[in-house]
């Protein structure tokens, strides 16, 4: 059924900290590893040793931010996967009922045996979260590792999405964003978590935490603090002596 549930009991999703992400792409690799070996059609690659192209459910972009004042530019690593939107446009456009949003936890999934591979859901998604697998010809998307988070065969600490479990920087957090008391909701509230493309009305569940502005070493206040040490850092020799001194003078005269 591709109509959206009026309300979901939980809103499982991710909080991604752009301040902490180091852009190592470990989440991309662990996602591809887990999801190619477990639920659903594998995430295929084409021409892996030529001009490669493949299916990924999670991709990390990097953006340069140049602040308006003469401050140093900042590099922001930006992981992007399905945001499990409350008002998911990818679900309602599906003609077959293959795409659905679960009423119990809000996860957006694709029933691959009912998918006709028309690609309309990928057109409807503003975030590029859905990719048609070139080998299986069905739509692939982030499942929030639905086969991990409820999997009682896994040790308790592994019952979270592969990307969250693997992140060495602790930049990814998984939990119920529908519960205001959950750790992820508290984190998003405390750090000013925001939505991507809020103007499109998709009401994403996943939240992004803003990066802190970069330290400014030439700021008057910071510069003063550095000046305490400055005398010790002053260069000792200003002009070269000996052979280098002679070379310098000779070249100067030419």
């Amino acid at each position: 059924m591709t109509t959206l549930p009026p309300k979901t009991a939980k809103k499982l999703g991710l909080v991604i900290d752009l301040d902490t992400c180091v852009g190592c792409h470990a989440c991309v690799i662990s996602c591809k590893g887990w999801n190619t070996e477990n639920y659903g059609a594998p995430l295929s690659d084409q021409d892996a040793y030529g001009t490669p192209s493949g299916t990924f459910l999670n991709r990390v972009h990097s953006y340069e931010v140049q602040p308006p004042e003469a401050a140093p530019a900042q590099l922001v690593h930006f992981p992007k996967s399905c945001l499990h939107c409350d008002d998911a446009p990818c679900v309602t456009v599906c003609p077959t009922g293959a795409s659905y949003k679960r009423a119990e936890d809000g996860i957006v999934l694709v029933n691959e045996t009912a998918c006709i591979g028309c690609g309309l859901c990928a057109w409807a998604c503003p975030y590029g979260a859905r990719e048609m697998d070139a080998a299986a010809k069905v739509m692939k998307k982030c499942t929030l590792c639905v086969d991990r988070i409820y999997n009682e065969n896994l040790p308790e600490e592994d019952r979270q999405p592969a990307c969250v479990r693997t992140c060495p920087a602790g930049a990814r957090h998984f939990g119920d964003l529908g519960d205001p008391d959950s750790a992820v909701s508290q984190l998003a509230a405390a750090r000013g978590g925001f939505d991507l493309m809020p103007e499109l009305g998709t009401a994403p569940v996943n939240k992004y935490l803003p990066p802190r502005p970069k330290d400014q070493l030439d700021h008057p206040q910071t510069a003063e603090q550095i000046d305490i040490l400055a005398p010790y850092l002053a260069p000792v020799a200003n002009s070269p002596k000996g052979f280098l001194g002679w070379l310098d003078k000779t070249l100067e005269r030419l």
Partner: protein
């Protein structure tokens, strides 16, 4: 957006076919016997042929029957239901005309309404997408319906209807281009809102996720041939609208009418290629597309 030949052929040909069916349903022209058979064959080859072309676009055509199930929410599903209903009703209406020389008027009106309904659903598949601001406008269904009626009238030999409808469609086409060229900027979606980093300064896509290409770039960040857009618009306007109007107003009956139809199809194919090739999807922003370079 990637201008898939199957989708260009489908929207152009089935639009024409359903347009012809709509006029036949209204009894314009009122034909029976062999003449009716020829008219209905042309209409069915175009309409059903277009539908088959669109099925080629699917990853799993063998599961296409499932697409009739989600008419409550999906315009694509509604299009499938409406097209089959239109083809079935018009088949019954056409059979009565061809074999018994009887025109069952109410059945024709119903078939005409269903035919227009199909084209409207097709148009709404594109017009509903907020992610493609160029398409997300009432001008999309207006243009596709006007082309369906104008092209249908041309095929049905309704000269007095065809030329004013072609002029109306040409006006809508110009409006759609005018609106479309400004739609992305006007939508307010930028790399800034896409990343939530817009307030922090000038943003630049520094490094893409992969050195290679991917499905998203192939399907939704198509940028080939845009430099010829103005020339192609000229070709589309001349062949699709101006030439057919001139040709049908000339004396010469069937020869000029056939030329008018061929010219119209060629022009609309060009216009439809641009409809896809020029459409900018917001996901391109994440890859540094659609952002003015500074």
């Amino acid at each position: 957006m990637h201008p898939a030949p199957s989708l260009i052929a489908f929207t152009t040909l089935s639009g024409l076919g359903f347009g012809l069916l709509a006029w036949l349903g209204l009894g314009l022209p009122s034909v029976t016997g062999v003449t009716a058979f020829v008219f209905f064959t042309i209409a069915y080859v175009l309409a059903a042929g277009g539908l088959l072309a669109s099925a080629l676009h699917l990853g799993h055509p063998e599961r296409a029957w499932r697409a009739f199930s989600q008419w409550r929410s999906s315009w694509l599903s509604r299009e499938g239901c409406a097209s089959v209903a239109a083809l079935l009703v018009m088949a019954a209406y056409g059979a009565a005309l061809v074999f018994w020389g009887q025109r069952i008027a109410w059945l024709g009106w119903l078939g005409a309404a269903l035919s227009l309904c199909t084209v409207f659903c097709t148009a709404m598949i594109y017009a509903q997408l907020k992610t493609v601001p160029r398409w997300h406008t009432p001008l999309t269904p207006a243009l596709l319906l006007s082309l369906c009626l104008a092209g249908g009238a041309l095929l049905a030999g309704q000269i007095s209807l065809a030329w004013p409808l072609l002029i109306a469609a040409a006006v809508l086409q110009l409006l759609a281009w005018h609106h479309g060229d400004r739609a992305f900027a006007r939508s307010g979606t930028t790399l800034g809102t896409a990343t939530g980093l817009g307030a922090r300064g000038q943003l630049r896509a520094f490094e893409p996720p992969h050195t290679g290409t991917n499905y998203l770039l192939r399907e939704m960040a198509f940028e080939v041939g845009r430099k010829h857009a103005t020339k192609l618009r000229g070709i589309a306007l001349t062949l699709g609208y101006a030439m057919p109007v001139l040709l049908i107003l000339l004396p010469g009956a069937h020869v000029t009418a056939a030329l008018a139809v061929l010219s119209h199809i060629a022009g609309i194919l060009a216009s439809r290629w641009l409809f896809f090739a020029q459409a900018e999807h917001v996901v391109g922003l994440y890859y540094g597309r659609h952002t003015p370079r500074t």
